[in-house]
């Protein structure tokens, strides 16, 4: 009862959001479809885009080709995309990846530990992290505008401390 009334009164959700300017949370997640884990620690020194996605989320599906393109173009300059998958089952994710293959790193997050650490508020959510491990930009949702902006943002960060 209180929940509905609170929602109706527009009381904002109190949460410690991960925003630009903060250090990226630690991440240690199993790889998708491969043995071993993926950690942000192991990618220190690179510009990383951590993207939370799922095959059931329409803008996520639309963002895949853009993110794959970004990863391919800038990987040799020290850029990496890490896709954290939020599908209900591994099968759902793999079926999607068969139709829309991507070349970037993929991880599973069954227990929601990574999503909670990053306090994900929308699907998709992308966190652009600089070479020193600090979050520089958060993208919530994915539109044509996001695609355009990301290219420039990644290039800017790659120039830093290269």
């Amino acid at each position: 009862m209180r929940c509905i009334l609170a929602a109706l009164l527009f009381i904002p959700m109190l949460a410690v959001a991960v925003e630009a300017g903060q250090p990226a949370p630690a991440m240690d997640a199993p790889r998708l479809g491969e043995p071993g884990n993926l950690t942000l620690q192991s990618l220190r020194g690179k510009v990383v885009y951590v993207d939370f996605w799922a095959s059931w989320c329409v803008p996520c599906r639309l963002s895949m080709p853009t993110l794959d393109g970004l990863h391919k173009r800038h990987a040799d300059r020290g850029f990496a995309v890490v896709g954290v998958n939020k599908d209900a089952t591994l099968g759902d994710a793999q079926r999607f990846l068969k139709r829309v293959p991507v070349s970037f790193l993929l991880a599973r997050d069954d227990k929601d530990t990574v999503a909670k650490a990053f306090d994900v508020k929308a699907m998709p959510s992308g966190y652009l992290i600089d070479r020193k491990g600090k979050v520089r930009k958060v993208h919530r949702g994915f539109t044509a505008e996001t695609a355009a902006t990301l290219e420039q943002e990644v290039q800017d960060l790659l120039k830093e401390g290269a």
């Binding site: 009862m1 799922a54 599908d87 759902d92 999503a115």
Partner: protein, 67 residues
Amino acid sequence: MKALALTLLIAVTGCANVAPYQRAHLARPDMAFESNLGVAKAMEKTFPAKEGASGGASVGGGGCGCN
């Protein structure tokens, strides 16, 4: 009757806080409230044409001379 209905509604709905990344099951096609647009439209008049009751889902649907 209306007061009871409203109370039941609020009691039943409770308090859920499903995060945006936990909506995999809710996004399933079989969790939708209606079948696809065409089937829903075609079936819209099938039962009401033979019954006294109609409506409840939407507005602006128009009538039919269902004899």
